[in-house]
Amino acid sequence: MLNRREAVRRLLEDRGDMLVVAGLGQPCFDCFAAGDDPRTFYLWGAMGGAVPTGLGLALAQPDRRVLVVTGDGDALMSAGAFATVGVEAPENLAICILDNERYGETGGQATHTARGADLAAMAAAGGVRKARTVRTEAELDDAVRALRQGAGPLVSVVKVAPESQPAALPPQDGPHLKRRFRRAALGVEDK
């Protein structure tokens, strides 16, 4: 089992001008622990929203790499969005699903991926053909490269250990997160 903090640290290291959408719960905390950046948009709620938010951003900024980092629970809730990503097929969109097979924020109940559901297969069936499951360090090396630079859309489902991590809480104020993202990513100053 891979360590989620280490996987995300590697994914975001020297990130260049990459834009990041972090799904609610642990994936937000993992991204913050890797180093806060105004070009990371943290979702503190809106479960099921990470993948479609990343899609809208990728379509709006086709020349920038957009990375969605989210969890298995969030991805299961927006399973239909895989089909929307498959149809729109943005080359600049990469999706990393940290799959601990648990609902970590609500007491560790099993998600469907602990009981046979296969998110990579669901993504592929939705039309995101570059979808795979990552279980080893060697596979992670390859996945990090692909998520950072490979032609999208692509999905990597990274199987991570379910142990709890030290607290790392990003800012929660929504308008602040939005404004600082647009300032850093677009150079616009919202009133």
Partner: protein, 174 residues
């Protein structure tokens, strides 16, 4: 007298929209067709309406304006995702074709249809209702100004009297 449908399209273009998020809908069909044909618009077909709320939040993070086309029944699907727009003050324009009201034959459309505006208002949306063709374009333009100047949610409810109620083929019971 279907000019109001083109009026919506012209208002969307004038507002600078580039992403049109939609679910299939008879009332919006002309608008959807024109959006697909327009090279400057990205018409994104959704599997469920709440995807569109998140999609357009992402669009705005990337500097693009959008519009969400949906039916009154789909408003119910959006409820929790609208917390994204509300909490972060994302501008969001929703164009809602109404069912379950004027001339409705299908009782299953009624629960959402008769409560659409109340649902939207509970979610923090400003609602502008349209039942006359001559009001449509100006109302859509007003919704865009409201949403993008005040960073908030604006919904235009296009009444079933305006769109034309779907006709049931069997004789009416009364």
């Amino acid at each position: 007298m279907d000019n109001w449908r083109d009026g919506i399209f012209e208002a969307i273009k004038a507002a600078g929209v580039t992403q049109v998020a939609y679910v299939p809908d008879a009332g919006h069909s002309r608008l959807i067709e024109r959006s697909i044909e327009d090279n400057d618009l990205r018409a994104v077909s959704l599997t469920t309406e709440e995807e569109g709320v998140a999609l357009l939040a992402g669009a705005w993070l990337g500097g693009a304006k959008g519009v969400l086309l949906l039916q009154s029944s789909g408003v119910g699907n959006c409820v929790n995702m609208l917390s994204l727009a509300r909490t972060c003050a994302f501008p969001l324009v929703m164009l809602v074709t109404m069912r379950g009201e004027w001339g409705e034959f299908n009782s299953w459309q009624k629960p959402m249809g008769v409560t659409t505006q109340a649902h939207l208002e509970l979610c923090g949306a400003a609602c502008y209702r349209c039942d006359r063709p001559e009001d449509v374009r100006e109302t859509v333009e007003t919704a865009f100004r409201f949403a993008y100047y005040t960073n908030s949610i604006a919904a235009v409810l296009l009444g079933q009297r305006l769109i034309g109620a779907k006709v049931f083929e069997e004789p009416a019971p009364c």
